[in-house]
């Protein structure tokens, strides 16, 4: 468990409905569809999909979750990881080129900047899903199960955990991902998260993506 591993991915297929959801569109007008098509074409080849990860033993004591590389009192993470014996900690990014493209269009077409940003959001989520599925498959082969991934900033898990995560994953060197003083990641379309590994399937938790989050007024909240 002492090594940071790397994975690079072929691009997962684009989910147009997800892109539109991130752009705040329920029923696209023909012009919006055209904007999406143009933006998708422009974004082709812009992304580089990279993930680095490392597995750590995890233990629980008096409401404290000991992740080996850091301890946290987050109740939401505690709930999320309960029953886990280890966690797969990962960082994923789709690269900085999209940030440049968005910057450029901010100057000449905010509509396109918005759409490109939505594509970026969909891409990084797809990358995380692809990685997550692989880990779940790997663990399943060993008779183990995984919990839904959980990131700093979700529920009461503090963003400050990012500092510890960056220290153990060596993100700048491994995948070119950096953290600034406000704990914002650059490239912006990047994710760090924890996946719990459990010996038994927790059928009682419905793995709905937004069920663990308390921000009920979120514009992007999934209700199904």
């Amino acid at each position: 468990m002492n090594t940071v591993f790397l994975k690079s991915f072929a691009p997962p297929p684009v989910d147009r409905l997800e892109v539109l959801r991130y752009a705040g569109v329920k029923e696209p007008s023909p012009e919006t569809e055209a904007l999406l098509d143009d933006s998708l074409q422009e974004a082709e080849g812009v992304f580089s999909y990279a993930v680095c990860y490392r597995e750590f033993p995890v233990s629980f004591c008096d409401g404290v979750c000991d992740l080996s590389f850091a301890k946290t009192e987050s109740k939401d993470l505690f709930k999320n990881l309960s029953g886990s014996t280890s966690v797969v900690l990962f960082a994923a990014t789709v690269g900085i080129t999209l940030d440049r493209l968005v910057s450029r269009y901010s100057k000449i077409s905010p509509a396109r900047a918005l759409m490109l940003n939505a594509i970026g959001a969909e891409r990084i989520e797809s990358l995380c899903n692809a990685f997550n599925q692989e880990i779940t498959k790997e663990k399943k082969a060993l008779g183990l199960f995984t919990t839904p991934r959980f990131s700093p900033g979700y529920g009461d898990l503090p963003l400050a955990l990012q500092k510890d995560i960056f220290a153990v994953l060596d993100c700048p060197r491994k995948i070119g991902l950096t953290l600034n003083e406000s704990l914002i990641m650059s490239p912006t379309k990047s994710v760090t998260a924890l996946i719990g590994v459990t010996p038994c399937d927790r059928k009682n938790t419905k793995d709905r993506p937004c069920s663990g989050c308390s921000k009920a007024d979120c514009a992007f909240r999934r209700t199904i």
Partner: protein, 800 residues
């Protein structure tokens, strides 16, 4: 013997991995390996000694992350001192008889430089400078800057090394599997940048195994006139039976690296996963290979943070439009600090196909040093073309060159002693391809022969600074033929002579030739074609001129530089078809255009909205068009958005179309007319680099008549306060996306309340809500851009 001398006739062997070996020795996850210099000196010394025993000439100190972001100054000093001692001790203890040196190892800071991160370029230079100074104090023999995956940070580190030592500096970058740095630079771009700044050896390390690195190494060998170094990983780590192994064996590694040495690599070692065994095997099997000579490539290159432009056969186009000379609107933009206007000029010229952008922002009444630096920094955030820094002020030139992310073109030096004394030291220090004008203290000579003589004198003076002729490009000066009918001929002759006699490149500002004549495009484009035929390498030109582009593409096709005439055909298709426009114009009445404009704005059709507005202006008053067409259309879309019938992208497309219409109207109105309601200062707060939401608010506010001053993102409180103060702005809008940056917003509000109590503050952003906004002292919370417009409108109404 100095390592650079040794390199002339020998291969140099570096060491292999350090981090992977330390992990085997028990380095814990997250533990800083640099501390082991002090806590485990024997472990570190033994690893170094094993590498010397294996045959390494150069061992790098265990100081990859030794910088002030991670350690206090006191601890940093102790770490570097111990690190150098450990390496020195290893060299003394090793039985190896080869030449031995100790390199100060410098890795990346781990922070992203602005504009895509929050680490300022000068802060990065200072950070590396401190490490360099301590290394020099401890007596290292050379500096190895390695594993850099960003061109800008690499430049900062190299600059720090050059400014604080006289030691040889080797620079090595880490490439991704796409053959580029994480932030996009190609190998040619890095060669151009690093060679320009005076690195002693350059190359690649880490990230990939030797096989995957070899195409990148080939690029280095193709472009570099410096010794090339390689330090590959032993492939990628894999978990096998709970153990970590790297997937390239020592034998395979050696084979691959030997092939690179045969191809011309002069300095080699290993990175992650390699051990003393790998280095021993490499030294043993490569010992018999004759080192290939390091040849001067004579390639004239400039670069941006993504790619290099090489001056080969195909002439290079330099866009001239970022220049206030003779442009009313541009001057106004400069005076009002409207950087966006400059950026749009840059983007538009790139879309016209230029290779390089000239950047000139000199106006007597502005601070050129500040403006040029700002324009260069902002342009390189949105345009990936190399820039030509165009200024007569050496101070502004240095400020811009320092911050430029790549190797710039520099415009210009000339044969006057004063000019060469000021410009050549900058070219030497920062690198650059400098445009040299063939004039001197006596002015511009009439004849080509005399201009060539000045060029020769400039070459000789440059050589004194160590600036080779590949880094000079001569401009033999196009003078107006209306004043002297021989001047066109002499300029063309000078182009030809410089090319054939001096074997140097040439560049011309083409359009001067026609000054004072009618239909200048005709003269310019023909002169351009003639100059190209005489061997012109580059032209500073107006890319919006179809006539100039016609000459250019026709020349490429006619001179055998356009395979299948494909570039010409592509260009020809972009030219307007005059007949069809004429037909359309006769078909419709003005009234139809009116409702048509509304429809087009609602649909969000930018180009059509601008064109229709132009037609309408022929018959209608500008203010009527705004009141009866544009504003009603915007209101329809805005209302639809608020009723959730229209979604955000559609709202924005309409807003952009409306803006296009406004721009057309603005151009038609006299300069003094100010139709704006009031000033609105807008910013994303310090520490936050998100600005999509802020840009949306800006666009909508502008359409509703507010004079928006956009301060950008990551803006310190004092900058916002001073702008509000300066403008006496009645409204300020602040945006923050992250919980971690809300304190900066609160801080900004506090300062605004103190210094500018008249100003109403609107806040917005994902983490905010009405209660939160109130808690941090804002006047209003706007949930989206439309609400921000409504609130601003209400504030404006109350004021009047």
């Amino acid at each position: 013997m100095n390592i650079t001398e040794y390199l002339q006739n020998n291969l140099v062997y570096l060491d292999g991995g350090m981090g992977t070996l330390l992990q085997e020795q028990g380095l814990m996850p997250g533990e800083l390996p640099e501390r082991w210099n002090l806590s485990h000196p024997d472990v570190i010394t033994k690893i170094h000694r094993d590498y010397y025993d294996a045959g390494s000439n150069v061992v790098s100190t265990n100081t990859f992350g030794a910088n002030l972001l991670k350690f206090s100054h006191e601890e940093l000093k102790n770490i570097i001192k111990a690190a150098v001692e450990n390496a020195r001790r290893a060299a003394e203890e090793s039985a190896g008889t080869q030449k031995k040196w100790v390199a100060l190892d410098i890795g990346p800071s781990g922070r992203m430089l602005a504009p895509y991160g929050d680490f300022d370029f000068e802060d990065a230079v200072s950070l590396f400078a401190e490490t360099v100074k301590l290394g020099v104090l401890c007596g290292v023999d050379l500096i190895l800057i390695e594993t850099m995956n960003d061109s800008y940070e690499t430049k900062a580190a190299l600059l720090a090394a050059k400014e604080n030592s006289n030691l040889p500096v080797f620079v090595s970058n880490a490439y991704g599997s796409d053959g580029k740095l994480m932030t996009g630079a190609s190998p040619a771009a890095m060669v151009s940048l690093l060679e320009g700044m005076g690195a002693d050896a350059i190359g690649v390390n880490c990230s990939l195994g030797p096989k995957a690195l070899s195409p990148i190494v080939e690029e280095y060998l193709k472009y570099s006139s410096l010794p090339v170094l390689v330090k590959p990983n032993a492939g990628l780590p894999k978990a096998v039976d709970g153990k970590t192994i790297y997937d390239v064996s020592a034998e395979e590694f050696t084979d691959e690296v030997c092939d690179m040495i045969k191809a011309g690599v002069r300095i080699c070692g290993g990175c992650c996963g390699t051990t003393p065994d790998y280095i021993a095997s490499l030294c043993r099997l490569s010992g018999g290979i004759m080192p290939r000579p390091i040849l001067e490539k004579e390639l004239t290159m400039v670069s941006s943070y993504t790619h290099a432009v090489v001056f080969h056969q195909t002439p290079v186009l330099i866009g001239e439009r970022i220049n206030p000379t003779g442009k009313k609107r541009f001057k106004e933009a400069l005076k009002k600090n409207e950087i966006d206007y400059i950026l749009k000029e840059g983007i538009a010229q790139q879309e016209k196909g230029v290779d390089i952008l000239d950047v000139n922002v000199g106006l007597p009444e502005i601070d050129e040093v500040f403006m040029l630096k700002t324009a260069v920094c902002q342009l390189q955030a949105v345009v990936d073309l190399p820039l030509q820094i165009d200024t007569a002020d050496p101070v502004a030139m240095e400020a811009a060159l320092r911050r430029y992310n790549g190797k710039a073109m520099i415009n210009s030096v000339n044969g006057k002693k004063e000019s060469m004394d000021a410009v050549f030291p900058l070219v030497k220090k920062y690198g650059g391809l400098v445009v040299a004008l063939t004039l001197d203290e006596n002015g511009i000579p009439d004849t080509a022969n005399e201009r060539v003589m000045i060029a020769e004198r400039i070459l000789a003076e440059a050589a004194k600074y160590g600036i080779s002729k590949k880094n000079l490009i001569f401009d033999p000066l196009a003078l107006t033929i209306s004043a002297d009918d021989k001047s066109g001929r002499e300029t063309l002759k000078a182009v030809r002579m410089i090319k054939t006699l001096l074997e140097c490149h040439t560049s011309l500002g083409v359009s001067n030739v026609s000054f004072g004549l009618p239909r200048r495009d005709i003269i310019n484009s023909t002169f351009f074609a003639l100059a190209l035929q005489n061997g012109l390498s580059a032209a500073i030109m107006n890319p919006y001129s179809d006539d100039m582009l016609k000459s250019y593409y026709a020349f490429l096709a006619l001179s055998g530089q356009d395979k299948n005439c494909s570039r010409f055909i592509e260009f020809a298709e972009t030219l307007p078809q005059p007949e069809s426009v004429a037909v359309q114009k006769t078909k419709k009445t003005e009234a139809e255009y009116a409702s048509e404009l509304q429809k087009n704005i609602i649909k969000g059709l930018k180009d059509a909205s601008g064109a229709l507005t132009k037609v309408l202006l022929k018959s209608e008053n500008p203010l009527d068009i705004i009141q009866n067409e544009i504003i009603p259309a915007l209101d329809i879309v805005g209302k639809g958005y608020e009723e959730k019938k229209v979604y955000l992208p559609q709202l924005l497309m309409s807003a952009e179309a409306a803006k296009a219409a406004f721009e057309v109207i603005k151009e038609s109105m006299p300069e003094s007319t100010d139709a704006n309601k009031c000033t609105f200062v807008l910013a994303t707060v310090q520490g936050d680099i998100h600005d999509i939401g802020k840009n949306i608010v800006k666009l909508l506010l502008e359409n509703y008549g507010f004079a928006v001053i956009d301060l950008g993102r990551d803006v310190p409180p004092e900058v916002i306060v001073s702008e509000v103060e300066k403008q006496h702005a009645p409204i300020a809008g602040l945006s923050a996306l992250m919980t971690t940056t809300v304190p900066a917003m609160e801080e900004t509000i506090k300062h605004l309340r103190n210094k500018t109590p008249w100003c109403k503050i609107i806040v917005g952003g994902a983490v905010l809500n009405p209660e939160y906004a109130q808690a941090i002292g804002a006047d209003f919370y706007a949930k989206d851009g439309m609400e921000a417009v409504r609130i601003a409108d209400n504030i404006y109404q109350e004021l009047n």
